[in-house]
């Protein structure tokens, strides 16, 4: 219980008479972990951060920080700091004074402020830039000032709202490493917002996938990637081939008019479902050896692999990542193993998914590669 730092209890947020931005959201965040909120634009990611920071109040439900109900605690009294999407550095202050702001507000004495500011600047590699105005800094430097300014207050939770979105690809990759390393060094909770799924998978201990103000799925990056609970998550996280299917029995799924062995279960007999196969799980082989026969439609060289777009005889599109070279117009076979197939119940929520897995596992099914949270 002591390990829970942030808790949302049935939180709903609604502006005026618009439809709710967040609908009945409940979750817990543990101390010292790296969380990512992932979802398309407008799904409510920033709203969740603003609720944690105290810039806005929930319409319904309660928020707890370190076990304490914070509904009447203003933002300025919460042990939470934010790195804003636009950094929000004070244009009238230099780098040093930006970082010192929170400490001056808390009326610390000069030597303490100086020591802390210098330590924070050393932390983010900005020593020597103390007297520069913030406008002259590069995007990466501004971002690091924003991080130093937040960290110097020694928050228990650091909220980061798409801090890397303004950076170019290379700097972005560098900052991803730095952030992850920083979080591990400090051992505080990070809540990181992004709509870049690769970033989310690379950085996080746990990912929350949001859509339309509802948490679609939460779990480790591997869980979310391998076991998406529904079509939205499968589509949003990485690329996937999704085909309609019928779950004939536990461990047996029918699609494209054929039956395939799989590792999923807990469905009603002959229940309609959807099958997800990741492009990198498909193996290019001969027509005879393939489980599915397709014709190559187009080919893109992506550096580490070819992205091959094919169509089967029923007109379904298949995306394949392969290092094998094929030619446009070739007829090829695609091979996959039973555990490469992931079967999703149509419209299933995360809670229903968890319940099904649990009952299936206790029935003694083959819950291979499935982790129950």
């Amino acid at each position: 219980m002591d390990d829970i730092i942030v808790r949302f209890e049935n939180v709903t947020k609604q502006y005026d008479n618009d439809p709710p931005v967040l609908t009945d959201i409940s979750f817990e965040l543990e101390r010292g972990k790296f969380y990512t909120l992932l979802g398309p634009s407008g799904c409510g990611k920033t709203t969740i951060l603003r609720l944690i920071a105290g810039f806005t109040e929930p319409t319904m439900g309660k928020i707890y920080l370190s076990g304490q109900d914070v509904s009447s605690v203003p933002a300025s009294k919460r042990q939470v700091n934010t790195v804003f999407q636009d950094y929000a550095l004070f244009p009238h202050l230099n780098v040093y004074e930006n970082v010192a702001f929170g400490l001056r507000v808390k009326r610390m004495d000069r030597p303490t402020i100086d020591a802390k500011v210098r330590e924070a600047l050393r932390f983010v590699n900005l020593i020597g830039l103390e007297n520069r105005g913030v406008a002259g800094l590069s995007g990466g430097q501004q971002q690091r000032v924003a991080i130093a300014r937040a960290l110097v207050n020694e928050p228990q939770v650091l909220l980061l709202d798409e801090p890397l979105s303004a950076l170019d690809l290379k700097l972005r990759a560098e900052m991803q490493y730095e952030l992850r390393e920083l979080q591990q060094r400090l051992g505080i909770t990070f809540v990181f917002v992004t709509h870049d799924q690769e970033e989310a998978l690379a950085l996080s201990d746990e990912v929350f996938v949001l859509n339309n103000g509802v948490i679609q799925q939460r779990g480790t990056p591997i869980d979310i990637y391998d076991e998406p609970v529904n079509r939205f998550v499968a589509d949003f996280i990485g690329e996937s081939n999704i085909v309609p299917a019928v779950m004939v029995a536990d461990g047996l799924v029918e699609f494209l008019g054929r039956r395939f062995e799989c590792v999923d279960g807990g469905f009603r007999p002959d229940e309609p479902a959807e099958v997800v196969i990741r492009p990198e799980d498909l193996e290019v082989t001969t027509v005879e050896q393939g489980k599915v026969q397709v014709r190559v439609d187009s080919l893109l060289f992506r550096g580490v692999h070819y992205e091959i777009c094919c169509y089967d005889d029923d007109g379904n599109e298949w995306l394949v990542h392969s290092t094998k070279r094929v030619k446009v117009g070739d007829r090829i076979g695609l091979y996959f193993d039973p555990d490469d197939i992931h079967v999703m119940r149509i419209g299933e929520t995360e809670a229903e998914f968890d319940r099904r897995l649990e009952s299936y596992a206790t029935q003694g099914g083959v819950a291979d590669g499935v982790q129950i949270a």
């Binding site: 300025s76 939470v80 804003f84 999407q85 636009d86 929000a88 004070f90 929170g102 507000v105 300014r149």
Partner: protein, 273 residues
């Protein structure tokens, strides 16, 4: 090609400036060197540096300063309040609306309100503290001047408040700043330029006030503005009137130069962020 067409567009404005700004300035300067009989002289300038006119100049500055200060004290909280209302533009319009009404009309309205038998005195009488002399006092002069100038102070301050990104305010709260500390450490410094342009927009015209000085303060307050009017319309000493005008123009130019540039970096920097 481009610069030539741009120059063409500038012709009407250029003509306007020459006819209504440059030429009058030259004329004023020319007249300031003439005595009452139209002969060349520098006597007007030496006369300006006598106690009578210096006192008048100091008084003008003092009243302009007072009007500016009171306007600022009224306008800043008003601008803050408007920026936090739901229908900002409506409230802004309502505060700016009076400035569209002719100055004379407003002055006459106040004469009516403040007169011995006017509604203000009726109210004071009802409260048992009147009637009193309101017209032709420092108070009434200051009150009316502030009433007239306050919109010109509110507008630039309001604009500079609006320019502050809401995330800067959120950031201040995030780091533990209370409303007051946020106001002092973030909002005040970031609106310094708005305050400066507001002060300029009030102080400079206040320096040469004469209409409401005459109407509201009567002969009690004699400023450079009223002296110019006096010389041109009553004593017919155009030379002395022009000399005072030359000094006013110089003073305004100096104020513009001094309040420009310094610290304007804030806004520029903010925009680039």
């Amino acid at each position: 090609m481009e610069s030539r067409s741009r120059n063409l567009y500038l012709i009407p404005y250029g003509l306007w400036i020459v006819v209504f700004v440059v030429a009058p300035l030259i004329l004023v300067f020319y007249y300031s060197m003439l005595d009452i009989n139209g002969k060349w002289t520098l006597a007007n300038y030496t006369r300006f540096f006598t106690p009578v006119y210096l006192k008048m100049a100091i008084k003008s500055f003092w009243y302009a300063l007072l009007i500016t200060a009171v306007s600022l004290v009224v306008a800043y909280p008003a601008a803050l309040a408007i920026s936090r209302t739901r229908h900002k533009q409506l409230w802004l319009l309502l505060t700016v609306l009076p400035s569209w009404i002719n100055l004379l009309l407003k002055a006459y309205a106040f004469i009516g309100l403040f007169s011995a038998h006017g509604p203000v005195n009726a109210m004071l009488a009802a409260l048992g503290v009147g009637p009193r002399q309101i017209m032709f006092t420092d108070f009434s002069f200051l009150f009316v001047a502030v009433y007239i100038f306050v919109p010109f102070m509110i507008l630039p301050i309001f604009n500079s408040i609006e320019e502050i990104s809401p995330s800067l305010i959120a950031a201040a709260h995030d780091m533990g700043a209370s409303e007051w500390v946020t106001l002092r450490r973030v909002i005040f410094p970031l609106t310094a330029n708005g305050v400066k342009s507001g002060c300029r927009a009030v102080f400079i015209p206040a320096l040469s006030l004469f209409m409401i000085t005459r109407l509201i303060a009567g002969n009690r307050i004699i400023t450079l503005g009223t002296a110019i009017e006096q010389h041109f319309l009553v004593t017919q000493d155009w030379g002395m009137g022009s000399t005072i005008a030359v000094f006013l123009v110089i003073a305004m130019g100096l104020i513009m130069a001094l309040t420009d540039g310094t610290g304007s970096g804030h806004v520029g920097r903010e925009r680039r962020v």
